[in-house]
Structure formats: C-alpha cells, structure tokens
Symmetry: C2
C-alpha cells in the first residue's frame, strides 16, 4: 500500500518525520512511502530506500496559517500534495503532523466527505491503566456539534473499534458530567436520547474521571469538550511527570531511588506515552487522513504510519461508508 506523508509538518520536522519514515520502512515491508517536502531540508536525514519516493514541493503550511485557506492558497505545499495524492488515488492514506485545522479543512475540501456524513470527526486511541485503551471522538474537528453529529461519531467509532480493534461488541459511552441518564447540558441530553434509540451498544454516560479506567471502548463527545479533556489528560500527565522527575533529582538518596526504579519508570512513561498510540484519524472522509501530534518524535511518526496502514488494511473508509448508508435507510 502507498502512504503519502507531509515531511514539513510538526514541531520537529523534517528530522523526526524522515526518521519515523525510515523506521516504518524497515518494519513494514508492505508499505511504500511518498514523502513530500523541500528537498534540501529533507536531504540531511534521508537514506536511499527502494520503497521511498521523495517529491519536492516549494511551499510549507505553517502552524499559524489560517486553517480555512492554507491548503487552498498554498497549492504546492507538502500538505496540499498529500491530500491531492489520496484524492487522485495515487496513495491509499496520508499523514501530517502539521497545522491541525488546515489539515481538517484541506481534508474536507480536497478529499471530501463520505456521503451521508454531516461532519467528519477527529478520533484517537487513548491509553488506559490496564493497557486496553479506548477510542475517543470528536477531538476538535468541529468545535460545535449537534446531537445528530454525536450519533454519527458513535456509529463511526463503533465500526472502527469492531473492525480495526477487533472488539466483539464495543461499548459506546457518552462523555458527560455524571453517569445518571438525565445528567448533562442540552446537547448531551439530546444526544443521550438518540444514542439510546440507536442500534449500537450504548452503555450510557461516562465521566471524565473514569476514562483511564477502561469504562468504555468508544467515548463520544463534541469537539470542544473532547479537545479540552484530551488536553487536560495530557497536561496533567505531563505536569506529574515533571514533578516526579524533580522529586527523583532532588538529592543523592532520591537519585539512587531513581536508579532502582529505572525500568518501572520507563514502563510507566510508556503506558501514558502518546507516541505509542499513533495519531488521530479524520473519520468520515473519502480516504484515511491521519493527523500525528504536533510534537511527534520519530517513534510517534512510526506509530502513526502503522495506524494509517491498519486503516487501509481494514478498509475503514469503505466500512464507514457502508455503515452510514445502512444507518440512513
């Protein structure tokens, strides 16, 4: 399969992107990569590889470019080019660690929505304490959502969890401020009713404080809330890691303690490490579009490429297409 990759997007581009690509080429023999970006900037990190094709483009979508217009205006940017590649079926999936809003707007504009999907959603798998992980969406593709949008997020998430993650009858939960049926704001109360009436395995409201305890396989919410919760989890985990590090470095005694705990700490860090969980995928577009975290290192890019390949392998786009068509009969 062919994956088109934006070599210029993200805080550590192009270095971490190229390195991630090379790692992925080594481990996944069925993947061919088309890497788009400024040749002279990619060059220092590149190695020759028979399944790697480098395509030069002049422009770069920057982090502060206006999301709505970036891809339209910068026609020769690496981001525009990867979207073009999937649209014209020269690639099966595409991936960028760059400007999230621009990638989403560009995805909508160039790749287009699956028929019947009102709003594509940004979805990612988040870690849980027991290592199972859960899928959460929308993480911010649409800041505002209607109850019907949330129902579609649930349908897309359910199908993904079932087909890609191999969960028999995935539990779908609605993120809310309490577990009782009547809890919530106007939006969640209405979404609750729609979900309850649907065919998916809806287990009711789930609370943010229980997310890491594996309360559901799929958690749906509006993009504003999803983004907030995601960033709160990331921020808190990061802050605690910082404090823990400071504690371990505070004296000779604690430094010995750190040495004794070395493997366990690495393990702990790994459990909450987003780089192991791949990127976020835009569900509901005509082809897999993957957004890797802006701060992605080589490992995170590697994982995001793996995720893209899994989505292609499992025909996620086609399955979502069929399921949405089915749901609207």
């Amino acid at each position: 399969m062919k994956i088109a990759i934006d070599g210029m997007g993200g805080d550590h581009a192009p270095k971490s992107i190229v390195e991630g690509v090379l790692l992925a080429l080594e481990d996944f023999p069925n993947i061919e990569i088309q890497l788009y970006g400024k040749q002279q900037e990619l060059q220092p990190y590149l190695k020759q590889h028979e399944r790697l094709q480098v395509i030069h483009c002049e422009e770069v979508v920057e982090g502060d470019d206006d999301p709505a217009r970036a891809v339209r205006r910068k026609k020769d940017s690496s981001m525009a080019k990867i979207l073009e590649a999937v649209t014209e079926k020269r690639a099966d999936a595409c991936l960028s660690a760059g400007n999230t809003g621009a990638l989403m707007a560009g995805g909508l504009f160039k790749v287009g929505r699956i028929e019947g999907v009102a709003r594509p959603a940004l979805a990612t798998t988040l870690p849980t304490i027991d290592g199972q992980g859960f899928l959460m969406l929308d993480l911010g593709a649409n800041a505002d959502a209607k109850p019907e949008n949330i129902l579609q997020y649930a349908i897309m998430g359910y199908v993904y969890a079932k087909k890609v993650r191999g969960i028999d009858n995935p539990r779908v939960g609605l993120l809310n401020i309490g577990t009782e049926d009547k809890k919530g704001n106007d939006l969640t109360k209405q979404a609750f009713t729609l979900l309850k009436e649907s065919n998916i395995h809806f287990i009711g409201n789930v609370e943010a404080r229980d997310l890491l305890n594996n309360v559901a396989d799929v958690v749906v919410t509006d993009g504003f809330t999803g983004n907030m919760v995601l960033k709160s989890i990331e921020g808190t985990a990061g802050a605690m890691m910082t404090m823990l590090k400071e504690a371990f470095m505070s004296s000779g005694k604690t430094k010995i303690s750190a040495l004794l705990m070395k493997n366990e700490l690495k393990n702990l860090k790994g459990k909450l490490d987003y780089s192991e969980y791949g990127g976020a995928a835009l569900f509901g577009l005509q082809a897999p579009v993957i957004k890797a975290h802006g701060s992605s290192d080589a490992r995170a890019i590697y994982s995001a490429i793996r995720q893209a390949s899994i989505m292609v392998e499992h025909h996620v786009t086609e399955v979502i297409k069929e399921t949405i068509a089915e749901s609207q009969k």
Copy 2:
C-alpha cells in the same frame, strides 16, 4: 464567626466531618461551629467543645436524591438546616460534602442570589506545579451558560482573587481549545468579545494543557466544560498515582526505592492533594455556601472550614455584591 455544617453529607460522613470540625476548632479560635445531623450517628465521634453546638435533625439528603427537590422536600434535613441558618443570619457561612446538585438548588432556593447575578457559579482553587494555584469557575453549577454568564463568572473570580487571595491585578483567562483570539466554539467566541471589552484584566484564551503551569490566576468556563476538565485532571492524577504505587510495589528493589523516596512522594502527593485546597464555593449567593468534595476526609473538611472562614473574614459576598452592582451601572 459562626459556621453551619452538614454532618451527614459526603462519602465518609459523619466520621470525617466531625473529625474535621474538631481539628478546625482547635486551630481557629475565632470560629464557632453549628453541626447539624442525626445525634446518634454523630455521637461516637464527638467531643465536648465550648465552641461546638450540635443540632439534631431527623432527615438526610442522600446522594441520589433529586437535586431540584431534595432540600424542599426534606425540610428537616441537615442540608436544609445549614442553608436555613445562613438565610436567617444565625450563621455566617455554611458547608456540606453532600449532594452537590441539591446544595446548589437549595442554595438558590433558600439563600437566594445576589441582585444582578444571573447564575451563581461553583468555584474552586486548583493546584499548580509551582504551588501558586488558580481559581476556576464554573465547575458545574450550570451545565449550560450564556456569554454574559461567563463574564459574570470572570467578575466574581477576579474580585475573589484580588480580595481573598491578595493578588494585585489577577490575570483572568478564558478556557478554550487554542490560545489564538478567534479560536473556540460559538460560546467562547462570544464570551471572548465580552471579556475583552470588560474592565477586568483579561489575558485571553488559555488551554487546558497549561492549567497546571500557572497560566492565569482565574480561569472561567461554562459549567459543563469546567466539570469535565476538573474531573479529567483529578482522574489523570489519580490514575498516575495508582500506576506509580504499583510500580513502587512491584519488586524488592522498587520497594527500597520507595523507602528512599518516602518524603518526596508524600510531598508530590500533597501538591496535587485536593484536601489541602478546601472546597468549592458557590459564588453569587447571598451568603457563603461551601461544597466540600464528596470524598472529603477530615483534613479536607478542615481546609473547607478554613476556606469558609476566609470568605467571611474578607466579606466576599458583600464585595461581589458591590462589584456586580458597579458593573451594571
């Protein structure tokens, strides 16, 4: 000053409530406490104290009682009685660790709003890595909010941070999905404009991932989002503590490591310990109504009592009243 306390509310009532009360009486010589609850259940934990008055009531508001009607129906409950005590000015502030919704609805119904305050808000001080802490509101008094409500939350939070926390010109931030001015959903975009035009020291949007890094002194948001973010922070911190504990207990070597780190770990736990930060206060009512965390231990009740006393000492209700009146001229 006199503080009326619900002896029956919370997961560890009445034990932790009574113990917290006794701790507070020891440390704060200017506080008199009126403790409401079932005499026979309070008795085992009670000690005679000249500044403690125990008032028997027959009823208890339970966690699953309908919030809107609990206080109205259970007229002889400890929760109804503490609200009555502040309403009739027999107490200067009241405190409960029981049913949050019931306390809020009861507060509105019995104590009443300050004139001009459209919606009271639940506010609490959250920890930051540097130990400064910040005030966040609304944490769920109102699941839905209008832009004008958020402006009032900001005014109340600003006054509190200035008068009670002694911050010269508190930085007020709007919780949002990005720091750029135009980011957000319909609600935050409109609230941004109102805040920008106001007289308070508005520093713009702040992101959930930066909250623990002391980005603002006061952070305002709608109650749904505030509740989500609060619970995400709590849940993540709790999950990490669980994982850390498991890591430290996993072998003989790691147990030695834990011993060497004992003080530092206690310190770390203390930094994120909500029991040190008191309860959440309902801002915008005619008297201080404090909601202690449902899982409060004696230490948390002690801190919440201290917070109530600070609110009385600094005339928070009067100051909010004047500021709101001023803002509407």
